[in-house]
Assembly symmetry: C2
Homo-oligomer: 499 residues x 2
């Protein structure tokens, strides 16, 4: 089967492993007190029977076809995990002697590991570089490393990795051309935290500012507006996915009296489009907003690739930008999500407050902060360096072109933005295929993000399977591949009408 | 030396290891393009010379004494990390052949590891259980595990650990007595994320509600108020650190027309005080706020201990509370910060929005989420179970009493709240001693949080050193131990006046 880890493992594990739920045990305080009281256990919640699953799938498929016929499409949600989780089971009184529990857990973990290998092999849709080897850092897993507070001011908690964190931050500040004594930043938990931070800094600089963002911006930008109670204006996009600065200008002029906080995408989530930073700045300055704007650059993926793409417009603090964020688990590759946030020191002094309990300063979104992530980043930056990243970026762009060309040759509509390694193409008809290759989809389109871990062999494997499956999806001559002209332009669509 | 990891390592590493900064190299894009261009490197920024450090310390000490004489005290901030970080250095062209870089990095890591051992050994101030063994999970470090989106709805990214996450969440929902089909939750990055989430849910339920929190609440609660643009009222505390419900009532009556969102502390940061949840509810209901309040319980540390303390008022969803958060890296112990957030499902439906790109739902604060943390928690919960935690809680409370008694015997003013393992005592005079033992301090008090990793031997080691050092601090007969009556009550103070 090609389903998710969860379901695969539940199939394997339910009978043999029997990690039963606590069920209707007594409240833990009572249960624990009565050490001999045997907790009443319920049978594990098994996968629903095959027949039911098939019926549900057929129903969903029928619904999708009906919606497609109506020209709209409901969001296809993932499976409900509650039916396939590994319950925590209270150890039996004699578990320590028998060692049975340890053995059971080891077997769950071994199966899980096997499924991770399989899932990693078939991953194409998210911009995560899955190719890394941090074996040298395994020795640190025994420590509770926490960089709580400000990266530049030690807290009283001594088990930290600030000396690695600041090394990494210096590297990024240098990449984006901000002097050591003029920047502030920290290593975040993910791209969302970077956006939340950048937009918050913007709001503190301009408390009555309006947040502008193109409609193809990451959902965290709109979440920030809601969280922070900011007025938010969505700006249209061009076919490429870039912000439409003509529309931006129109909307600016409707709000002449309010300062601007704008999120600029350095690679949108779905199409990998890079907003034209220079044009955004020009639009702001020419429409009377000089010195009344704050620009946050969401460089979740391309923030680290674009410095190495020839002719790309550069992200640099020599331009009037306020902050840049980038993800660490994407192009760099890291076992856990993380990100880097760099902003101007002058902005942060207004935002922060000293926390005596920490002997440090609170200017981050989170409090306790993962101290392992900076060491992973430091390790990779040191090993690869600028030159190593440049090579990888070039390889990714080459491979992305290869994928786009091969798709078109096979009659599959596809688009690749010039500065991007995100190949957008017609959404595969079969949701099972989408799940197997872990493709991110939106409406009629899907995408593959070509990361350093995606080589030609993997792409060929994917292409062959797609072509083969596609022949069966459309063999009846009645179903047709979807038209994607509205998403990627007539010139990139190869549907019945446009090919 | 007993300083921080950073400084210790810089001493060791600066000369031998020579991880020089990139310095004023060309911009990376150019530098990388010109593969042969040797980057101009600056000498590593060394530790300031010993003499300067000593002079600065003396100056700081003089300032503190002056402030103490004036009856006020400035916050003592930690050291600036920028002077001691490990810079990332661009690899030399021949690094791959010589293997020199790998060797250098390995030596930095080995030294760092040694310092972590030392720092872990001397840790007392933060409520982190440093005693864990996740060796069995080292095999998973090679995978980029990410639970992006909702825990209960699989995203299209297949390399996740939702089946572990939901198992852990079920365990906590059961602990706090909320049925499986009535709760929602997720594993967060830290206690702060839990508070940010709980308070956000409260605000969405009561958009014009006022946030109340005792002044001894964690700083993240006040950060949330600022981020979310909520009116916030600070409530006074009793000597124990608990919320003063008489003051709460007074403040409620000044804002009769506005709903209430209140943060209830299940263990305050500094004194480990547990707010009286039942009295808070009674105060709300008796003053006309029935069905017009949302209670978030910040159980960062004690949320997991209190179910196992006899006679403690219970945190349970059978009472009208909205959410509970607890940290995973504290009592449970985990290499990286994490936490658990449980709330009522009915509240979350209003907050969330579906994200097609993920095929999941967005109801969390963060987007990408660490998939390793749930496995760590699952592993420990399975191994220890309710009974294991109960034993550890009892041990911690016993050891905390031991520490408090021994401190008082030695003439050191100290306090221990009944339901707590946080021992508050007179702040040690020497900041170096504070740093060595990583004590969290506030004003004239410091604290030790007795965690499962803190045994009697470690406490004796600390006590002996404190008594010995203290004799030297106050031997001149002029300096006196600080009075802490204002912080912990006359009955717990042993200063010249109160003993």
């Amino acid at each position: 089967m090609v389903g998710s880890v969860g379901n695969g493992l539940a199939d394997l594990g339910a009978g043999a492993v029997s990690m039963n739920g606590v069920g209707k045990a007594l409240h833990p305080a009572e249960a624990a007190a009565a050490a001999t009281a045997a907790a009443e256990t319920l049978p594990m919640e098994l996968e629903p029977p095959e027949a039911l699953v098939a019926a549900a799938a057929a129903e969903m498929e029928a619904k999708r076809e009906e919606e497609a016929a109506n020209g709209r499409r409901e969001i296809v949600m993932g499976r409900n995990v509650h039916t396939s989780c590994f319950a925590v089971k209270e150890p039996d009184a004699d578990d320590e002697e028998t060692g049975e529990r340890e053995a059971t857990m080891a077997s769950v973990l071994a199966l899980y590991r096997r499924s991770l290998v399989e899932r990693t092999k078939h991953h194409l849709g998210y911009p995560y570089n899955l190719d890394f080897d941090y074996g040298a850092l395994a020795q640190l897993q025994h420590f509770s490393i926490n960089n709580l507070g400000d990266p530049f001011i030690e807290s009283n908690y001594g088990v930290h990795s600030r000396q690695f964190e600041v090394g990494v931050l210096d590297w990024f500040a240098h990449l984006w051309e901000l002097e050591k004594d003029e920047y502030w930043g920290y290593i975040t938990n993910c791209g969302t935290e970077g956006n939340l931070h950048g937009i918050l800094v913007g709001r503190e600089v301009f408390p009555d500012g309006i947040l502008y963002a193109s409609r193809e911006s990451h959902y965290s930008v709109f979440k920030a507006a809601r969280m922070y109670r900011m007025d938010c204006v969505k700006v249209d996009t061009l076919m490429s996915g870039e912000i439409d600065c003509a529309d931006f200008q129109r909307k600016l002029l409707q709000n002449r009296d309010k300062p601007v906080i704008i999120n600029v995408n350095i690679g949108t989530t779905v199409k990998g489009a890079v907003d034209d930073l220079d044009l955004v700045i020009k639009t702001l300055e020419e429409n009377g907003f000089k010195d009344r704007f704050y620009i946050h650059c969401d460089g979740a993926l391309f923030g680290l690739m674009i410095p190495f793409v020839k002719k790309a417009p550069q992200v640099t603090f020599k331009k009037p930008i306020g902050s840049v964020s980038v993800s660490g688990h994407k192009f760099v590759g890291c076992p856990m999500p993380c990100g880097v946030q760099i902003t101007r020191l002058e902005h942060i002094n207004a935002l922060s407050s000293n926390v005596e309990y920490l002997a440090s300063r609170d200017a981050t979104i989170m409090g306790s902060r993962n101290g392992h992530a900076p060491i992973f980043l430091w390790y990779t930056l040191n090993r690869k360096g600028y030159r190593g990243f440049q090579k990888e970026v070039q390889k990714c762009l080459r491979n992305a072109h290869y994928l786009k060309d091969r798709l078109k040759e096979a009659g599959v509509g596809a688009m690749l933005n010039e500065l991007s390694s995100t190949v957008v193409f017609e959404r595969p008809k079969d949701e099972e295929f989408v799940r197997r290759w872990q493709l991110a989809c939106e409406g009629n389109i899907a995408h593959v993000v070509v990361m350093p871990s995606v080589n030609i062999d993997k792409l060929d494997y994917f292409l062959n399977e797609l072509v083969e499956k596609r022949a069966t999806w459309y063999q009846d001559g009645i179903s047709q591949p979807p038209c994607i002209a509205r998403d990627v332009g007539v010139e990139n669509c190869l549907c019945g009408l446009h090919k």
